[in-house]
């Protein structure tokens, strides 16, 4: 059980406090309800570029990092297709420094040319490092474009192309800030050796005076139901052929999400999982194979990907993958196998809660999903999944007309 208290400031900022008396530290986590899905198709990568600019100084504080480091703190941030999250950890005695810094950048940024100019370059290098200068680095880009025709999950958080990042203007930055970075669009979570009354006082003092701004209403085009299989072939300068298959799955808040998560565990949750055992160990068709899903708020993708053993034909490898997922769909799973993946989930959740930072971030994410209390119900939801539900969900997901396949060939 993760305990927390919750209150809302007059300007709309939601505040949650998680008290933990066993730590000398405090975490201040601010999540903004904006991600790459809120970008326009002509200006992708912007939410993430903007995250970088949030460290370039705010209206009253020329630099963000130095005062925090001076207070013995460290910080970072991440952007996904659904959200942007900022977090810092520091000795609890100095927690007011974090309130000062976070509230000032929620109030307004400095909007300097230099910061934009430099961060455009930095993000371009990040783009190159992770998506261009790595073998198979463009897979996620290609697979998204194949699987989504309409929904903004069509592009990656880093952006569709370098040019979108290079072309970002200071006016774009300002518009984005005033549209999305308002108190009503944010959630503040404070965790650590501090009580709710103290947090409330500090929150009123530093965040209370920020004008509420206009509430952003999300209007995202829904992805039409896929009705026929889609495939794409790529030839690239990579050493091994690789197979990528993606199927549409439920959204995060759908009850079916829990069965889907267990399906990925059954298929590739470890050395005794089905795909690894059948395709790497017994048939020796793949040198590695993995199954995972986006975990995205809107309807996401479940993916299976693997590199083929040299000499194996693509069609044989694909047939073997399909044989495994069809077997799961037709024959279902035993109670023992179901218990195994539930046990694994229980243990995963317990290890996640070890760190104060994880607890703070998770509270923020669940609150953004609708209610932080969901976090405390997760285990039970997984426990309630039945073998029949798993089979039913497999039938829905592993339907040929729901599949997107990327054949990635080595031209070496």
């Amino acid at each position: 059980m993760i305990n927390f208290e919750r209150f809302t400031l007059a300007n709309g900022l939601k505040v949650l406090v998680h008290e933990d008396r066993n730590t000398p530290m405090a975490v201040v986590n601010v999540i903004y309800d904006v991600g790459a899905r809120d970008e326009s198709p002509e200006k992708t990568g912007f939410a993430h570029l903007f995250e970088h600019l949030m460290f370039g100084g705010s209206v009253n504080v020329p630099v963000y990092d130095e005062p925090l480091q001076l207070a013995g703190g460290e910080n970072n941030a991440f952007t996904t297709n659904d959200m942007t999250n900022y977090y810092c950890q520091l000795p609890v005695e100095n927690i007011e420094t974090a309130f000062w810094l976070e509230s000032d950048r929620m109030l307004s940024l400095a909007f300097g040319d230099k910061s934009l100019d430099v961060q455009r370059k930095v993000v371009c290098e990040e783009f190159k490092e992770h998506y261009i200068n790595k073998p198979y680095g463009d897979v996620s880009h290609k697979l998204r474009e194949l699987a989504y025709t309409t929904h903004p999950y069509r592009w990656m958080t880093i952006g569709k192309e370098l040019k979108h990042v290079e072309d970002a203007s200071l006016q774009d930055v300002k518009d984005f800030f005033f549209k999305h970075y308002t108190p009503g669009n944010a959630i503040l979570v404070v965790a650590g050796n501090i009580d709710a009354a103290t947090v409330k006082e500090l929150a009123e003092k530093w965040f209370g005076p920020i004008p509420g701004g206009e509430k952003y209403i999300r209007r995202i085009p829904a992805e039409p139901k896929q009705t026929a299989p889609r495939t794409m072939e790529v030839k690239a300068n990579v050493p091994l052929d690789a197979l990528y298959k993606a199927w549409h799955m439920s959204s995060r808040l759908d009850e079916r999400y829990y069965a889907t998560e267990l399906i990925t565990e059954i298929l590739s949750g470890g050395g005794s999982s089905r795909l690894f055992q059948a395709l790497v160990k017994e048939k020796k068709l793949f040198s590695n194979i993995e199954c995972h899903h986006f975990g995205s708020f809107d309807e996401g993708l479940l993916m299976i990907e693997g590199k083929l053993v040299k000499g194996v034909q693509m069609k044989d490898a694909e047939a073997a993958v399909l044989e495994e997922v069809n077997k799961l769909t037709k024959e279902g799973i035993s109670e023992k196998e179901l218990q195994k993946v539930k046990n694994k989930t229980e243990s995963m959740l317990a290890f996640e809660d070890m760190s104060l930072m994880n607890r703070a971030t998770n509270i923020a994410i669940y609150e953004l999903l609708g209610d932080a209390e969901l976090m405390n119900q997760e285990l039970e939801r997984y426990q309630q999944v039945t073998a029949a539900q798993i089979q039913e969900e497999c039938g829905r997901i592993f339907n040929e007309n729901n599949s997107n396949t990327l054949y990635y060939y080595s031209n070496n």
Binding site: T23, P24, M25, V59, N60, V61, D65, E66, P67, Q69, A71, G72, G73, E74, L90, P91, N94, E96, W100, S103, D117, V118, R120, K121, C124, E125, E126, K128, E129, N133, K134, P135, K205, P209, N237, V238, P239, L240, G270, G271, S272, S273, K281, K284, S287, N288, K307, V309, K310, Q339, K340, N343, K344, T345, E346, S347, A350, F351, M354, S355
Partner: protein, 427 residues
Amino acid sequence: MLNRTIAPPIKDAVEFTLSLKPYTKYTLDNGVQVYAIDAGGQEVLQLEMIFYAGNSYETANTVAAATNQLLKNGTSTKNAFEINEAFEYYGAYCNRSCSHETASVSLHTLSRHLPSLLPVIKEMITDSVFPENELKIYKQNSKQKLSVNLKKCDFVANRLIDAYLYGEQHPYGKYSVAADYDALTTDQLKQHFNQYYVNGNCVIFVAGKLPEDLFEQLNTQFGSLQLKAHNKREDIANSLAAATEKKYRIQNDLKGVQGAIRMATHFPNRHHPDFTKMMVLNTVLGGYFGSRLMSNIREDKGYTYGIHSFVQNHLQDSALVISTEAGKDVCEAAVIEIYKEMKRLREELIDDEELLLVRNYLIGIILGDLDGPFHIISRWKNIILNGLDGNYFYNSIDTIKNIPAEELKQLANTYFAEDKFYELVVI
């Protein structure tokens, strides 16, 4: 009216008193020592068995790593699938890792499942049989993985810089090529296993919410094995064969858009009095987000997504390494800037403001890093495996709080001399 231009008062982190929670030590019947930290709010624990079975002891390249990996691939009563399932049924994770001196088997589990899992670990470390078929799959998949990694400039650069620093025969400098995997035999693995696991030197670290009968559980499973305690720091005689040529430019990928830059110089290990002092100087240079290298090369010039400097965590010979991936066209400019930052540290005193910031930052990081049983045991493990004691921790804190700027400048002159650096760019 709130004045947002004035920072709230802070307590300087250097005023904090830090303490490292002491461990409880047990000795099993065979002399093997167990270091334990009982803490934490979740019903979980981690157990790590360290064997002196790393690549310093192997008779041929990559034997130590292969032996370590294949500990989970078959005993006389269980095949690989059954071993994996024995852990995964309980939601537990059993990992292996192989380093230069040591190799380990670790377990992460809900504390209540420990009695079901220890017997499986015992079986792995006493009765692994290294089936021919498992080795065959391991060789094939390792070679495939290597072929992908060799396309990455950072992977290639990491291997080469170590080879320049220590020589390709040295355990810290050698690396695997496809032919090494081809040459592996089950006999080599069995021999390594028998000598360094079954009859090996072992030390155990355990942390988390510990069961009351932890010691009895461990002693029952491991206390009567042929394992021995590891009492003193192993001094394996490795002769350093550093390269004479210092500067390298390698074209690994004709279409590469970035270069992996590595600059490195030899550096003493933790027993040298300069080691903890250099932690402070290294932080200033490239050890945190606000470092000189980050401020200049990322935040001012935008040449890279990130640049870091660090001292390698080696028990014996070591090195200080600067590492970054930068745009292909700005690699040479980045190298020049790196030298400029070293020069500044050699010639100018770090001012009080920056030095206080770095002291506070480091103390804050250590404070946060002492939070939770896994972090605490990881500090103790480092201290114990390096043959040090708790004083090392308190001396480090003292150094961070008090080292004067003049001394840091002297250290910069000793260790940041340009001609001592190896310089490598792999595109």
